[in-house]
Amino acid sequence: MRSSQDFDDEIRAHIELETDRLIAEGVPPAEAAARARRTFGNETAVRERFNESQRWYWLSQLVRDFRFALRSMRNHPISAMAVVGTFALGIGATSAIVSVIDTVLLRPAPYPNGERLIAVAETRPVGAPGTTVASIKLEEWNRASKTIQGAAGYYTESQSDTTGALPETVIENWRGDAV
């Protein structure tokens, strides 16, 4: 890897050699140096072309852009904070939603063979009351279905707990096991 210092040295050497040559040809020293520079052309442009041709040029550009970003943030702290806050809220909300989708929709339920669990329901004509399944049907499904290995259901019942000072409603959960 060649340093730009090395490249600059080479340019300087060139100008010295060219000046020497012109002086040897009889050009006055003061004019020789100026003419050597003139025939060299645009030194800065040549240096830039060398720098841009370097393999890690993109990295130095990246570092420079990064520094510039930090500097701008320091100069405008309020807008920087607003942007950082926006990003934080956005990223937070997105990752919360994604983790919900992941656990609820994408991951199988946390039971053995959870990926084989499905929920089954009956649908009824619009306006008809109730969406529950008669428990006798579970037995029917278990007996007749070839698609599912076993069906189970649950239902809840409201009870009154009167053991305390005041009565309380208790939801009782009943479960019918798969065959």
Partner: protein, 113 residues
């Protein structure tokens, strides 16, 4: 001073390689040699030589090493590699083909029908 023509795009590499066939040389020497060998007709912007040399070096066609010039100045000397010699042959024959073809087109006469 006679009229000078600027170098054709893409020909600098070829000329550098050709000059280096005579032995190691530093950038200023190459620039001088191109100008002298062309009968002072070709106008070489000395600065454009160095990115070109760097390119040739990156491709492995020339090697460079710091040394001391005849008049005791530090200078970076370039030598041609074997790959550079092959590249010179390739580019030179391409150039000859192209100039011959252009010459034929320019010399074209109206055809009788």
């Amino acid at each position: 001073m006679s009229t000078r023509v600027p170098l054709l795009q893409g020909t600098l590499d070829l000329l550098i390689l050709k000059i280096l066939i005579f032995g190691e040389q530093h950038g200023q020497g190459i620039a001088r040699a191109i100008q002298a060998e062309s009968g002072e007709v070709l106008l070489v912007d000395h600065g454009s030589l160095y990115p070109a040399l760097q390119r040739l070096e990156d491709r492995g066609w020339v090697k460079a090493q710091w040394g001391v010039s005849a008049n005791n100045r530090k200078a970076r000397f370039y030598t041609m590699t074997a790959a550079g010699r092959q590249q010179l042959h390739r580019e030179a024959s391409e150039w000859e083909k192209m100039t011959a073809a252009i010459g034929r087109v320019l010399a074209a006469q109206a055809k009788e029908t």
